[in-house]
């Protein structure tokens, strides 16, 4: 695991080039504290910071092939590097190291961009072809690793985290109101977007080719949520799913350092823990957060699973005060406005994991998307069939939908029937599944002065996606979850941005292409979808504590607005002071003031979910603006660590022909 950064610029010359690339790397030093390196050639600089996990001695970056034509910065892990290495050797390619980075490089030389579909891994990469002058940027198919770029008149910048751009001369961050509207409405940036003007992401499964002034963005692999149905019995299907998961965990235990597991106490992380325990020679270490506030706490389930599976368990207690205190630092690492605070505990947990001596963590992300775990999928099934159901069927299915939400309780059944009737036909083409949820989003968009249709770009995206229109309502819901909430929040803001803030790499066994395919082939083939993840539970029956298999899903959440209200941290002034609030010139001050006043003066239970979310959006946007746009150092936490070991420094510029090794 690493971070990468670089730029193409004809204007920057001389000593400024190594200085700027070094500064960019120092801003993402947290991603790879073990070593750093860069490569310079005329018009280009690129470098990497490295967290050494595979071939600790030999895997330094940037790495070149023998001829010096191809240079690579690789952020991530290739889980099938052993198999690919064998295949490439069979084709006559030779290797100098044991690292997965070299496998990626040789695969690129052998197959070109077609190598990307062969990769089973989590990555963002930059490959430079010195012969043609081309630069290739690519990202893994689910968005486990980031890759941002800014295409400016004077330079083309790219990096694993946007904060690296701060070190480029003349670079200024500016919030983009159009993207903020989309983020508030959808909960996350769209696959290729960011909250900042003129900064984009390489979308998941995407490849960006830069050659001179030309830019070609392509999708090397479309997300597939459909698959030919599995044809065996239900027992066969459960065994098939279990075996694919077992293989996935086995691949993700490949590491030269110890691998731990995040154990939330729910089904998915319990399954990962179970398989890791089976496949590890030594006792597995598991890590959890527990909350003082019992509404959010799952420590009982966590301990029960840990005891059942015999792990060495460690838990970090989180209070509202911890959330308030660490929110700015976590937002600094997230770089994107957030609708929940649940990423802050993960920021603290990764610190705890690092301090425990663990660099690599397995987690359960991706299971709910693949195996239809979210209530959203059941809601979609229900609304899609609404007008064909009897009153009794409607009542029964409504009752099972959101057991954790009070307003879905029996007292409100009649009113819900009316609400669902209004949402039983599609209004936003292609977004039927999310239309009820997006009502909350529309409320948050009221934060902005400009309230034009916030779903326009998402509608365009699904409209232009090959095969999307032919998917079932549930499959469309899956597609949207993969492309937005999973990649844009769970894997990023709550996932790798928080773990890498403390140099911990996360791996997601449920996001192996074979597991996703297996899920698609069995989903709704053996049940009607209304029992949560039925086939997955069947696959692990008898292997996990009964409570893991039977308890209703508890969404992972943390205290929201209440945490800030109670503590009133000093940065709340960004919202409480009219002068501070006025700095956010895209925000409607009248609505923002009303919202903040209501949140500050209303008892917690009377604050609705959408108000809570909108408040967290506003606060995180204000903090980001303060840190990134106004460059206020007092809250630009996580100042770059001072010491960075530059292990590789290669300068191929005609102006200074010196090839350096260790410096």
């Amino acid at each position: 695991m690493c971070g990468l950064a670089g730029f193409l610029s004809a204007e920057l010359q001389g000593d400024a080039v190594p200085q700027v690339i070094t500064s960019m790397l120092s801003l993402i030093h947290h991603r790879g504290p073990d070593e750093a390196g860069y490569y310079l050639d005329d018009g280009i600089a690129m470098g990497a910071v490295r967290l050494s996990i595979i071939d600790i001695a030999g895997g330094s970056q940037p790495m070149a092939d023998r001829t010096g034509r191809y240079w690579i910065c690789f952020n991530g892990e290739l889980y099938n590097h052993i198999e690919l290495r064998d295949e490439l050797r069979g084709l006559g390619r030779t290797f100098r190291t044991q690292s997965d980075t070299e496998v990626v490089l040789q695969a690129w030389i052998q197959w070109g961009p077609a190598c990307l579909t062969r990769f089973n891994g989590a990555f963002g990469l930059a490959v430079r072809d010195a012969a043609t002058g081309e630069l290739f940027l690519a990202r893994d198919r689910y968005g486990k690793r980031p890759l941002f770029y800014a295409d400016r008149p004077d330079a083309f910048l790219f990096a694993s985290e946007m904060k690296a751009f701060r070190a480029f001369p003349g670079f200024r961050f500016e919030l983009d109101p159009r993207e903020l509207a989309s983020i508030f409405a959808v909960w996350t940036p769209l696959p290729d977007r960011t909250p900042f003007r003129d900064i984009r992401q390489v979308p998941v499964g995407g490849l960006l080719t830069v050659r001179g002034e030309r830019r070609l963005l392509s999708t090397y692999e479309q997300l597939r949520v459909d698959a030919p149905p599995f044809t065996g019995t239900e027992e066969d299907a459960a065994a098939f799913v279990r075996e694919e998961l077992r293989k996935s965990v086995e691949l993700r235990l490949r590491s030269d350092v110890e691998v731990g597991v995040y154990l939330s106490g729910g089904l998915d992380s319990s399954i990962v823990t179970k398989l890791a325990t089976d496949l590890s020679r030594s006792q597995v270490r598991t890590f959890s957060v527990e909350f003082e506030d019992k509404t959010f706490d799952e420590s009982g389930s966590q301990r029960s699973v840990a005891a059942h599976l015999g792990t060495l368990h460690s838990s970090l207690a989180i209070s509202s005060a911890d959330i308030a205190e660490n929110f700015p630092e976590a937002v600094y690492h997230a770089e994107v406005p957030a609708f929940r605070t649940a990423f802050v505990p993960m920021y603290l947990l990764s610190r705890h994991v690092r301090d425990s001596g663990i660099k690599v963590i397995l987690s359960g992300e991706g299971a709910d998307e693949a195996f239809l775990g979210y209530s959203l999928f059941r809601e979609t099934l229900l609304r899609a069939s609404w007008n064909d159901l009897s009153d009794e069927e409607k009542a029964a299915k409504l009752a099972s939908l959101y057991p954790e939400l009070g307003h879905f309780g029996p007292g409100h059944r009649k009113h819900l029937t009316g609400l669902f009737s209004q949402f039983s036909t599609e209004r936003l083409p292609g977004l039927f599944s999310h239309e009820l949820r997006y009502q909350n989003g529309r409320f948050a968009v009221r934060l902005l002065k400009d309230r034009d249709e916030p779903f326009g770009d998402l509608l365009d995206l699904v409209g232009a996606t090959p095969g999307y229109a032919a998917l079932s309502p549930t499959q469309k819901a899956q597609w949207l979850e993969y492309k937005t909430l999973l990649a844009g929040y769970l894997l990023s803001t709550q996932g790798e941005r928080m773990s890498l803030a403390h140099s911990v790499e996360n791996r997601c066994p449920f996001l192996d292409p074979a597991v996703v395919r297996a899920a698609a082939s069995v989903n709704l083939g053996y049940d009607d979808g209304f029992q949560e993840k039925a086939i997955l539970k069947k696959a692990f029956r008898g292997e996990l504590p009964q409570s893991s298999l039977t308890r209703p899903k508890q969404p992972y959440r943390a205290p929201g607005a209440a945490a800030f209200k109670d503590r009133r941290p000093d940065y709340m002034e960004l919202l409480l002071s009219d002068t501070e609030l006025a700095h956010l010139d895209c925000v409607d001050p009248a609505f923002a003031r009303k919202l903040v006043n209501k949140v500050m003066s209303t008892p917690d239970p009377e604050i609705s979910t959408k108000e809570d979310q909108t408040f967290v959006y506003l606060l995180s946007t204000a903090v980001l603006h303060h840190q990134y746009v106004r460059n206020q150092e007092d809250r630009m936490s996580a100042a770059p660590e001072s010491r960075m070991e530059i292990r590789t420094a290669v300068d191929h510029r005609l102006s200074r022909l010196s090839v350096g090794g260790t410096r």
Binding site: K414, H415, L419, Q439, R446, K610
Partner: protein, 85 residues
């Protein structure tokens, strides 16, 4: 306070909006991002409590609860019924 004013005041306080400013009486409150599922349930409960009637299935399934004026018309109709349920 008139019936219309009561409903308007409830919506303004509960959903942080102002009629006359960003909304008028015919604005679709779902489309404008004012009401979500939780707010809808709250609004229904408010109407039943405040004006002392019970909605029935037929009421629920008509598409009336989308704007201030349609809600107000509905309440007026309910109150005019001989035996409010």
């Amino acid at each position: 306070m008139s019936r219309t004013e009561k409903i308007q005041q409830y919506i303004e306080e509960r959903f942080l909006v102002e009629f006359g400013g960003d909304l008028d009486a015919d604005t679709d409150l779902f489309k404008a991002g004012v009401i979500d599922s939780f707010g809808y349930i709250q609004l229904m409960n408010f109407l039943e409590d405040e004006f002392a009637f019970q909605m029935d299935e037929a009421d629920i399934l008509t598409d009336v609860f989308v704007s201030l004026s349609s809600i107000d018309d509905f309440v007026a109709r309910k109150l005019a019924e001989p035996n409010p349920r």
